[in-house]
Structure formats: structure tokens, C-alpha cells
């Protein structure tokens, strides 16, 4: 490359850098803001959420009936210590598993090793069978489940013999309806939050900063409309719009969910537990009543209200609608983060009421409660009132900001 050409490239690049780094707002909103935001979330939110009571894998117990010592020691190597029980304790252990205790039960036939050794595949007889009971809805399910299956498979191949797992009985103790609800509760709150946010961002930046850009606030303030009426009207109107954006986006996801799961299931060889988790018939919106949907709608509306209010207040400071979007868009990271925290840590767990006073987090939590059908009315009321109260404060702040002389200056 010849020197002059390289110089011109640098010249052009330098102009871009001067434009970018010379614009303090640009640097703050594009460069500093996202990082600071994530740091704040990590520093303050994560410890708070981590404190919540959640079930860990180390708390779950793997019970066994008649385990052969060799399998017991293989499992020991993978970090699983078996707790031996007798045949008559089986019922109560199974009940615990059904209630999502996170425990496992492995039932071996009497003299399992001897039966495996003498078993001949060509004989046409059924192979010796191990029964494995678990609950795919418990938080610690995946970790132990994988280890146990790996250990059994390793033993099977080491002796070059064959036995079956769960041919006649055993398997997932989770209630199949609950499995479907669980999946919905994991997936939909994230989408709802993101679609509401996305809609709110599009409509609010236009409605606030666009109006400021065009200089039309003056025409409005010259009428008898008060700033608080203007702020309330904007927030109310935009909340409904964002709510509808959230609904329509998520409806697409909800309707395609069974299809999506179907194609996933056919694309991957599913293990026993996973296929139960992805049982198509269980993923259905029919399990929810009209009341469930009404409560969900209220939660979503109050969520849209608080999101719109936050975005409006940020958008007031922007000079153009584009700049407003730049300022607001890093917030989506926070929203995703909060809803993912909820997704991984608190599925189906009861948490203290004060978590429902944290805006946005309370929305994600309430939504998954509703989809899990484990919601309590006081938690929902806490969520909605918190959001509406925060929205009202935001509305007041917005009206004060709208009244300042800066609103009249066109760029």
C-alpha cells in the first residue's frame, strides 16, 4: 500500500475517532455506560440472588437397593456416595423424589452381578434390569443423572455384557404437566421481558425525544395541559403499546414452541430424562386458565409501565431519537441478565416476599411463578403495586423534567 493511500485511510479513521471521542455523550453511552451497567448488576444483584435458598447438587441423596460393591465404587469415583436402603423404605423415598427433593433411587435386582454374568443376549430372554428413579424438575437433576448413567454404561462395557435400565419401570417421577409448565416458565419470561423492552424502546424514544427534536413540546405546553398530565398520558399510552409488542412477539414464540422442541428432539438422540422433559404433549398453553392469563396480563402491564418510565427519563436527556436508543439499549443486557438469573436459580422455588419489591426482578419471578402455577396472590400484588408505585414516581420525575426550559430548545 502506498504511503499516501495509507495516510488517507488513517485520516478518515482519525476523523471518525475525533467525532466519537470528542462527543462526550457518545463516549458515555456507547463506551462507558454498558460496562458500568453490567458491573453494577454483577456487584449488587448477583450477591443478592446468590443468597437465595436454592437446592444444590451436593444436597441431594442417591439411594440404592441391593447395589453391587463394584458399581458402588465406580459411582464413588464420580463423587456419588450411595445411601443404602431396604425394600420397605422404597415408598417414602419415591414420594420424596416426586416432590422434587432432588434425590435419586437406584434399584438393583437381587444378585445383579451373577445375573449379568450368566445372561446371554442370544438366549432371547430379557436382560437383567436396573430401575433408576429421579425427578427432572429438581434443580440438581442434570448433574447426578449424567454421572449415574455414565457410570452404569462404563461398567456395562467393561464386562462386555448387557443389562437394561428402566425397561419396565423407573424413570422420571415428575408430573408431566409440571414438566411442560417448567419449560414454559423457563423460556417465556425472558422473551416477554425482552420483547416488551424492545417495543418500549422503539415507541418511547420516538415519543419523547422525537417530540423534543421537532419542538412540539412548546405547542403542547401552550395549552392548558399540565406537565403531569402530559407525562401520565405518555406513560400510559406507551405502556399499552409496549405491552402489545411484548404479547405479539411472545405469542409467536409460544405458538412455535412445540414445533421448536419437536425439531430439537428429532435432531438429537435424546436420553431418557430429556425426552421426558421435552414431551410435546406437555408443552401446551391449555394448562392455564383465563384467570392465569389475566393475572399475567396485569403483571405485564405493570412491567411495561415501569420500563417505559425508565426509558422516558433517559430519553429526555438525549438530543435525538437515535441518541436515545443508543443510551437505552445497554439496558437490555440488564433485563436479560435478571431474567436469566431467575431462570437458573429460582425455578419453582418459593422465595421471600421482599424479592417481589425489586422492580424487573419481581416481574421475571412473577411470570415464572404464573407459568409454573406456583404463584401466591400476595406476591403478585407486591409485584404489581411495586411497579405501579415506581411508575408513578417516575411519572412525577418525568413531569418535572418536561417542565424545564431545555425541553424547548430544538437542536
Amino acid at each position: 500500500m502506498n504511503f499516501a493511500v495509507k495516510n488517507k485511510i488513517l485520516l478518515v479513521a482519525k476523523k471518525e475517532w475525533d467525532r466519537f471521542f470528542g462527543d462526550r455523550r457518545m463516549v458515555i453511552s456507547a463506551l462507558i455506560f454498558p460496562g458500568v451497567m453490567i458491573y453494577i448488576v454483577y456487584a449488587f444483584f448477583v450477591p443478592l440472588i446468590m443468597d437465595m435458598p436454592t437446592r444444590k447438587a451436593k444436597d441431594s441423596v442417591v439411594y440404592a437397593i441391593n447395589p453391587p460393591p463394584v458399581i458402588q465404587s465406580i459411582l464413588e469415583h464420580t463423587g456419588i456416595t450411595l445411601t443404602l436402603i431396604s425394600e420397605n423404605e422404597k415408598e417414602s423415598v419415591l414420594e420424596g423424589i416426586a416432590e422434587r427433593s432432588g434425590n435419586f433411587l437406584i434399584v438393583f435386582p437381587q444378585d445383579f452381578i451373577e445375573k449379568v454374568v450368566v445372561y446371554d443376549v442370544r438366549s432371547g430372554e430379557v436382560a437383567p434390569e436396573i430401575l433408576l428413579y429421579y425427578n427432572s424438575l429438581s434443580g440438581s437433576f442434570a448433574e447426578h443423572y449424567g454421572r449415574i448413567l455414565t457410570a452404569l454404561a462404563a461398567y456395562e462395557s467393561s464386562i462386555a455384557k448387557k443389562f437394561d435400565v428402566n425397561r419396565t419401570a423407573g424413570g422420571d417421577m415428575a408430573d408431566t404437566g409440571a414438566v411442560g409448565r417448567h419449560l414454559i416458565a423457563i423460556v417465556l419470561p425472558v422473551f416477554l421481558l425482552v420483547f416488551i423492552f424492545h417495543g418500549a424502546m422503539a415507541v418511547t424514544t420516538e415519543a419523547i425525544t422525537g417530540e423534543k427534536e421537532r419542538g412540539t413540546f412548546a405547542t403542547i405546553f401552550i395549552t392548558s395541559l399540565t406537565p403531569i398530565e402530559l407525562a401520565a398520558g405518555k406513560i400510559f399510552g406507551l405502556s399499552i403499546q409496549s405491552f402489545l409488542c411484548g404479547i405479539s412477539g411472545t405469542l409467536g414464540i409460544a405458538l412455535s414452541l412445540p414445533k421448536l422442541v419437536d425439531s430439537l428432539a428429532s435432531g438429537f438422540p435424546m436420553q431418557d430424562g430429556m425426552s421426558a422433559l421435552l414431551n410435546l404433549n406437555t408443552i401446551s398453553m391449555n394448562q392455564y386458565s383465563v384467570v392465569d392469563f389475566c393475572i399475567l396480563a396485569l403483571v405485564l402491564l405493570s412491567t411495561a409501565c415501569i420500563i417505559v418510565t425508565i426509558i422516558s427519563i433517559i430519553a429526555i436527556y438525549a438530543r435525538t431519537a437515535k441518541e436515545a436508543q443508543l443510551l437505552v439499549s445497554p439496558m437490555i443486557i440488564v433485563f436479560l441478565f435478571i431474567s436469566c438469573l431467575n431462570m437458573f436459580y429460582n425455578q419453582g422455588n418459593q422465595i421471600a416476599i421482599y424479592y417481589y419489591f425489586i422492580p424487573i426482578y419481581n416481574s421475571a419471578q412473577s411470570m415464572s411463578d404464573i407459568f409454573n402455577q406456583s404463584y401466591a396472590l400476595n406476591q403478585i400484588i407486591a409485584t404489581i403495586t411495586t411497579n405501579i408505585f415506581a411508575g408513578a414516581i417516575g411519572c412525577f420525575v418525568l413531569s418535572r423534567l418536561l417542565k424545564t426550559e431545555k425541553m424547548l430548545i430544538t437542536s
Binding site: G210, G215, A218, T219, I222, T223, S224, L408, T410
Partner: protein
């Protein structure tokens, strides 16, 4: 200078703005405050057109905004038909229409929609709204475009719509800040005709401009504003030297610059 038939009087109006760091840099000054309007007084007679003339940054817009209750003054007051803008801003708002040349209406809407929206905000009764809309649209030739989105209209037509919308509530006093700002020949002609038409209907008009020919054509009274101060004001024919407003303005402007008047 306050005459008996004054419908609007501006009394010792002063307004300062705080400058932030960026504004100080742009204005090339170390002062943290700028005086936009400096002890300004003038009055406007009922049924007349008053033109406030001055260069960029003279304080025209600031004055117009204080008169229309959009911002508050630091000192002084404005009386609109007897009501103080400080004490009775709502009363004043009902009596005035305000339009700035900077305004861009939301082009997504139709003239009819915007007319009805602003009529409702101005609390004009429904029947009256219909009647006024019909009349104004007819009168200013907007009828044909009444249900077209603003985006599809010519700039002159958009300006007409903006004018009409500023007077939905039939105000007796109309305040126009640089009404011909950035307009082409045809659009500015629309403005002049519009203003003269309003005058014919007995409205009082205050307009700010830096275009001498516009003022010469339509104003009854003019005032020169420089650096926030009213330098000279009176009937057009007295102020204009040899019927030339521009010469009159610059003879004053030059003497200020040369330090003969302050």
C-alpha cells in the same frame, strides 16, 4: 410609551440563562450566565401587528417564550389583556396562540387529526371545533388535504396547517416567532397573507423576525432588539428612515458597535 389601547405590555423584562461548559465554549466566554433579555419594555396596541426585529441571539425567541408563558422571567412581567403571565399563566394561554418557525409537526398525522387533537387540548367544545375546522380549512385552502398525512404536503401547505393549529381556540392575540424561518418564496408569501388576514379579523399579532422586508410589509409598530435590549421602537413610518427600515436599523447598530450608544 404605554398607550391606552395597549392589549399587551411587557414591563422591565429580564431573563438570564446559566451556561454549561459546552455552551461557554461555543459562546467563547467565561461567564457562567448570559443575559438573554435585559430590562425590556414595550407595548402592543389592540388590532395591530408589532414586529420585534433583531439579529441572531438578540433575545427575540426568549421574549416571545416569556410572553407565551413557556418560560419564566427573572424579573419584570408581561400583561396580556390585563392578566400577568406570572400569576395567571392559564388565563393568558387561553387568550394567545403561539407558533415558532422552528416547529415541525408530526408528519404522520393528517391536518384534521392535529386540528382535533389541539382543539381538545385547548378545551374547545366539539361542535365549535367542527365549525372552526370547516371554516379555517376552507379559508386557507387546506380542505383538499384535510385527510392526507402531513408528510405528503408541500412545505407551504404544512406551514398553513401549523398556523391554523396555533389558532384552533380563536385567540385574540397571536405570537409568531420567526414565522418565515427557512421558508421558500411561496411559503413566506403564505405567511404574509395569513398574518394580514388575521389582522383584518381584528387580531393582535406580535412577530419576531430578522427580515426587514417582512416587517416593512405588514407591521404597524416595530421594535429593534439588540443584546436583549430594546433600542428603538415606535410606528413603522416613524422608525423607518426614508421608508427604509434596514438603514434605520444599521445606523443604530453601527453606533452601538462604535460605542456611541450603549
Amino acid at each position: 410609551m404605554l398607550s391606552m389601547s395597549a392589549i399587551l405590555s411587557v414591563l422591565n423584562l429580564t431573563k438570564t440563562f446559566r451556561l454549561n461548559r459546552m455552551q461557554r465554549k461555543l459562546a467563547n466566554t467565561a461567564d457562567t450566565r448570559i443575559t438573554a433579555v435585559d430590562n425590556l419594555s414595550f407595548s402592543v396596541n389592540e388590532g395591530e401587528i408589532f414586529g420585534l426585529l433583531g439579529p441572531n441571539g438578540a433575545g427575540k425567541t426568549t421574549t416571545m417564550r416569556i410572553i407565551s408563558t413557556l418560560i419564566n422571567s427573572d424579573a419584570g412581567d408581561v400583561f396580556v389583556d390585563g392578566s400577568s403571565v406570572k400569576e395567571y399563566p392559564l388565563k393568558v394561554r387561553r387568550k394567545i396562540g403561539f407558533l415558532s418557525g422552528d416547529l415541525k409537526l408530526d408528519e404522520f398525522f393528517t391536518p384534521t387529526y392535529l386540528f382535533d387533537f389541539f382543539s381538545a387540548l385547548r378545551e374547545v367544545p366539539k361542535a365549535e371545533t367542527l365549525e372552526r375546522r370547516e371554516k379555517l380549512f376552507n379559508h386557507f385552502g387546506v380542505n383538499e388535504y384535510a385527510h392526507k398525512k402531513l408528510a405528503a404536503l408541500s412545505s407551504g401547505m404544512k406551514q398553513k396547517v401549523a398556523f391554523i393549529i396555533s389558532i384552533v381556540h380563536d385567540p385574540s392575540i397571536i405570537i409568531f416567532d420567526e414565522p418565515t424561518n427557512g421558508m421558500d418564496l411561496l411559503a413566506s408569501r403564505t405567511v404574509t397573507e395569513f398574518l394580514l388576514e388575521l389582522k383584518k379579523q381584528g387580531k393582535t399579532i406580535i412577530l419576531s423576525t430578522h427580515i426587514f422586508s417582512l416587517a416593512e410589509k405588514i407591521c404597524d409598530q416595530v421594535g429593534f432588539i439588540i443584546n436583549g435590549k430594546l433600542i428603538n421602537s415606535g410606528p413603522l413610518n416613524q422608525i423607518a428612515v426614508n421608508n427604509n427600515l434596514e438603514d434605520a436599523f444599521f445606523s443604530i447598530y453601527d453606533s452601538i458597535r462604535d460605542g456611541r450608544i450603549s
